[in-house]
Symmetry: D2
Subunit: 337 residues, 4 copies
């Protein structure tokens, strides 16, 4: 840890901090500069977080040398983690496609959508039963009955399923009916939810909040892993910026960056990441090209009738076409589909 | 509702939509332009949300004429709402100051901090028992025992109390011990929490998410009000932008804008909105000047020892000084303290 | 054009606007809704921009039906434009690589860097002689003597050259020595520069400003094209967001979106778009995958010694490796290198 | 300067850097940590910028201890600078109001607007002759004839004038006719313009770019001051964020922050900072409350007829009302009007 004091700080101010560092068992360093005093601490600086040096009146800046997360970092755990949803492995050689409608609406819709995505080569079925919606007047999902439909269709088509969980009270039900939990962007920092999911064994797809830094995403994952569940899959789904021609700004930079600093698998959701049907396929290709381990795509057998996110859902024919082209990019990336 | 079709849309494409509008009971309007067809719908357009015209393949843009929220809007409810926390009225003539430490740490700390803020003229005591923290390794709050400390000190100093609630399971406990719920920025779109708070009668201070548009904040408030609890107080606390010299960018524009479109009281939290102790006082003054109904200020009897947010907490002497100066700006705004 | 009046607007307020529309020669439409009056105008709405209806006191919102740009739009000019820099065509079948150092530092550096990028298969040589730098104390470029070095090396290696122009006074010199102008992100709305470049015939690579919406970029291009120079190439290079793990957030969504609404070629600059050497190659692959017409890459024969942007420059061996892998993604996109 | 090496860096990697630091005349420090090597440099670290340690392959992060600007910093120059525009002093006891229309449209409009703002108590007259406009089809300003009108009206009403300069070629003309230069947000990093203005003696109002960090603004000011012109006034005018209910997000945090780290005067432009007429007055009050040295307000004698920015311009009656209320906040801030 590096602590830069304010210009008018004295040797005495420095001594207070140096003493605290020493008391914690780290080695303090006094570095008087020409214009500023700098203090260093050698050792496991995470022990110093409790000291809150940034609150000291004569401290200007505190700079961590180490990253604030540990269990999810590749420094700590160099080998890539492979997480299985049902029998599908994420993070390995295979580029995985998760597809299905935004929301489970009824059995027929799920059956048709599942048949379509299975035929096109998707590996895992998605569909939301609990829908977090910006407006209280929008369709809020079918709840448990939606989970049951998803589960039945998933078994019928032999595709593992993933669905969003939005509150602690629903975790048991989701665990019973689905093969993986999804934590949506709005809940990325719902720490009660994360902690409870850390107590379970089923995998968690953790979507990046739309105002979350990559570091925040990794700290959210650390919540789950530090509770004992290491089956975490990260998902980039776009961040909020000033640009309005797309619903979000898909931050693909985050994909190779995440792959370099964490051992967890990384997916991309180009449906939410663009919000525009025509942009989903090109951004799925780009995701494969920059090193993602898979994509999540919204597919609806009839987007015009979708109760949510119809604007960004692909109809079956466009999804088939996308999958065929995607294969070329996946192979260019030395992976399989 | 205004629906703009794509350039190559035909009369037939328009007819499909015109029929749907008519079937919903609204009056459809066909407006063929020189380069594009535009369609209008006259009547309560909220009925059309279920139609999801934005998903139709030949639709380019859908533009709502009405705001998506209703109960919280001033159009719908012109008189300003006054919400009482204990015996303190927010939204009226009085400019209200809520103050206290970020987290309840122990009885002594709360007692000292409460005495200090009471003496300086604060009206309501704050202190967090459940702390949502970005890192799992940070101090997470004392939980129920923190609530008890807050409650005891609050009664002793005759100041109503407000504290954050982060999950549905804690609502009962918070309701028992505190005079108002606070929903933090990270939970602004935790809809399960909002719906449950809508079932209660105690007031809710709803903080703006750091990536939430003003419209999102109002829709979150609509969740609470539409469930039956109209005691909602909004709070601007800074949004996330590219600027890094402050922790957040305090969006004071939102204050007079909110006051014009909603009847709910509006507070400002300059402690989180700046993240820098020296900026708290000037931004509190600015909040009073631009029409806020009050401020929430982090005060700690010894910020250097604070377990969270020490960097932005005011020590008692600075808080006293701030309150004395604040009075002048509050009076300039024709209000009282 | 759709004009939505405020709630309390009267028929008289509407009449004022309806009259103005009629006077301009467009067909006015009066659409009284249940809660609001809406006014429409049928015809070439660009004629109405001079009316500034948004300034009228009873107007709430003005919504354009048509895009504000014209000459650069694909609606207006459906065929894709191919722009040639020297003998290299951009916007066609070939995926073009522009490479070279950030700044021209001296003859030896340019010679070594040019030889390296030529050998690896780059088509066009880049190198800055006029450097816009955030700090006045940073290296500002060699100016005219830098242009001369670039020109000599470019001819020697038979690669056309592109270099940035930062002010009107330098346009003649750049035109004399280079094969294309580059307008940097900071100058994207330097309208005097754009207008003057519109008077020239050499192609212009126009980089997106880091706070520019896609629409702003297209309007900036419209400045150049409307003055007579239609040889404009757009370049996405990252926008400024709250994320700090990369220098900018590369907005690849913008690539397929731009390709759909404009006929101009679109490049990507993953060097500035990431600011991190290790991310340049994966984002170049992603650029090819999502439909870009080429990339601009910073390559320095010895990045450690670079006078600017060394952190994001590739050394020759990494550039060679990137080009070999890039070929696979370019071919997956049905293009050639 | 603090240099943090990558995890796998060796003592040899460190030695290369330590040697470079020593060669520059600074004192190198070798700080081997438990997980990472850290290197320090004691002395004037600005000398090390030329070394570009961030480009070294084994370097993870470089952290400056000192700010990158010098002449504009309060550390370097503790006394507040007072800049005079005509006979009006900015940065002192008086809170200064600059007012007038967005653009000079004709003599009558300027005469009416000037009379109105003078009567209401404004100190300096504004009006644009050269208008940087996002679209080439918008009104571009009257140019030199606009300057002449501004100058004549300014003399007639005995108010000094300020007007925007957008390119080097116009500097002489603006210097002849106006009392201060204004550099607009889009040109904040037009370094050629800044350098040339640094050669002149008339004051420069430098507006913050809408994607510029506070540090970028100060570095832009450093360009002007380092060329010899220390008469620089900074102006916050809103930054670009995801919020769309206002044209920009006015970053008032920047005002007290700037006042603490620079000795230059700081203004606020609430007209551009909000883009909404009704928000201009409350944000002007907030500006005074948080420590600004003055405001720039767009006033038009008939906003409905304004050729630009009518939506955010105040009509005379509203400006008079604003000035009367503003006085109370200015006095609360212990200043005069």
């Amino acid at each position: 840890m590096i602590i830069i004091l304010k210009k008018n700080a004295s040797k005495l101010d420095a001594d207070t901090i140096l003493d605290e560092i020493e008391r914690t068992g780290l080695k303090p360093l006094f570095l008087p500069g020409v214009e500023r005093i700098v203090i260093g601490a050698i050792g496991d600086e995470r022990l110093l977080n409790e000291k809150h040096f940034e609150s000291f009146p004569q401290v200007d800046q505190v700079k961590a040398v180490l990253s604030p997360f540990k269990l999810v970092s590749r420094e700590f755990h160099p080998e890539t983690t492979i997480v299985k949803i049902g029998d599908v492995a994420l993070g390995g050689k295979q580029f995985v496609t998760i597809a299905g409608p935004c929301a489970v609406e009824n059995t027929l819709q799920m059956a048709k959508s599942a048949a379509a995505v299975k035929l096109a080569g998707a590996h895992i079925l998605r569909g939301g039963a609990f829908k977090p919606r910006t407006s209280p007047y929008s369709f809020q999902g079918l709840g448990i009955s939606g989970l049951k439909i998803l589960s039945a269709i998933s078994r019928e088509h032999k595709m593992p399923s993933v669905t969003e969980v939005v509150e602690v009270a629903d975790i048991d039900a989701v665990e019973e009916y689905a093969d993986a939990f999804q934590v949506g962007a709005r809940n990325m920092q719902n720490f009660a939810l994360l902690k409870e999911l850390g107590q379970r064994r089923k995998p968690v797809i953790l979507k990046r909040g739309f105002a979350a830094k990559v570091e925040d995403l990794l700290l959210a994952a650390e919540y789950i892993v530090s509770e004992g569940n290491s089956n975490v899959i990260l998902c980039e789904r776009g961040i909020r910026t000033f640009e309005t021609c797309t619903r979000n700004t898909l931050d693909l930079n985050a994909v190779p960056y995440l792959k370099s600093i964490t051992h967890l698998p990384v997916l991309v959701d180009p449906s939410h990441g663009t919000g525009v049907r025509e942009l989903v396929a090109p951004m799925a290709f780009a995701s494969a090209a920059c090193g993602a381990d898979g994509v999540i795509i919204e597919v609806h057998h009839d987007p015009k009738m979708a109760l949510s996110d119809g604007k960004q859902s692909l109809p079956p024919d466009q999804f088939v076409k996308m999958m065929m082209e995607l294969k070329k990019f996946v192979e260019a990336a030395n992976r399989t589909m």
